[in-house]
Symmetry: C2
Subunit: 258 residues, 2 copies
Amino acid sequence: MGALHAGHLALVSKAREIAGPDGAVMVSIFVNPIQFDRQSDLAAYPKPLEADLAACRDAGVDIAFVPEPAMMYHADRSVTVTESSLSKTLCGATRPGHFDGVCTVVLKLFLLGGCSHAVFGEKDFQQLAIIRRMVRDLDVPVEIIPHPTLRESDGLALSSRNVRLDPAQRADAPRLRRALVAAREAFRNGERVSEALIGIAGREIEASPLTRIDYLSLVDAESLQPVDRVDASAALATAVFYGDVRLIDHIGLNPAGA
Amino acid sequence: MGALHAGHLALVSKAREIAGPDGAVMVSIFVNPIQFDRQSDLAAYPKPLEADLAACRDAGVDIAFVPEPAMMYHADRSVTVTESSLSKTLCGATRPGHFDGVCTVVLKLFLLGGCSHAVFGEKDFQQLAIIRRMVRDLDVPVEIIPHPTLRESDGLALSSRNVRLDPAQRADAPRLRRALVAAREAFRNGERVSEALIGIAGREIEASPLTRIDYLSLVDAESLQPVDRVDASAALATAVFYGDVRLIDHIGLNPAGA
């Protein structure tokens, strides 16, 4: 979607490493209209194309694919990729159609690009799980490479949205990571009950007058369905508003590796 | 779907011609469970695998792909290709989900097979239009090659279902083709009003006590939406029951080439 930051460029570095000297690294920069449920969000989305292209050049990208919307979507388009399970929880619960738009554009980009591998950030945890599911269910011949979330030194996950926080919000925002780490500590000390783990993280987030929780859920790592207890690999995921800026973060809880 | 007849083998010949001596021809034989709306139809579908494989060998097929359903569909599958416009008319009107099942399996077979071209019979007119639409909308890198309908000498379109007609039904069934040709004659003589053209074909079909019309529609050749007048390329399409055997046929009406 462009507006590239260091988190995106880490994905490019990973792709460069996989491609090796003989392979090509492609980046798509496309603010995908069909994944926006509100047209005002689409219009307001930043499009710093010159800066993005310069960053791509510096990072060793071979091909930047920057299509016009009219090239990607016919006016009478009628075929969509739909996901009916993983997309119903977390961010998908309040954004109907969003992940269908994501699946559709990602499949199109894969097929147009003819790529063998694709690197996705773990930051967009639900998106990554859904794309993996699409690749599995539709036999898409692309290997999905996850890449860990990059963070500021105070723990805040890198996001294009962070620049929209005011100084007080920005100073407060590492609270999300702190809340999730506190829950993981309790998990590592033996707590397995979701309600207790959610309570620990929730109290930390709600201790600030600046936050408003959109969701805070403990879900199975693969199905993304809520669980009552953590008996298999799971994730504690949250979306929090600071004013109208919505930040997401999550942390893995793995009983095997606890 | 197997149960191969001369119509299928004509598609294989066409594929053999396109592939040339250095290319490979692949046939998939798979009775796709997710395109059946009734499980009894699925169970009753003929599966003469040995005869099909022998026919493939004789026709110069290089690879027959005969997957098990469990290999194609995970129990928790949740990603589907959906078509929201062309699939709502004609056969799709009474078979909700059928063409989504077709699109999903065809995309999977394309991606598993890695094919450059795929040959489809024009007999399944709506299926062909929907697959072309899917290829366009999802940027699937496969060229779709249509192949004309094969017919018995009396005009009946070849279909695996023809053997299920009793002798009286079989003798009557060329009526479908006759009805469509009569409408095309009127079209060539200047008739452009859909109601009149449908009336001509409908009277011929309903003149037999053995027939029951499922649909008889005049639709735009690309959008498959009903038209009141034939001012652009169109098709008169019908599905007719003989007892519980449902036959389909269609005929093109092209103002430019009338």
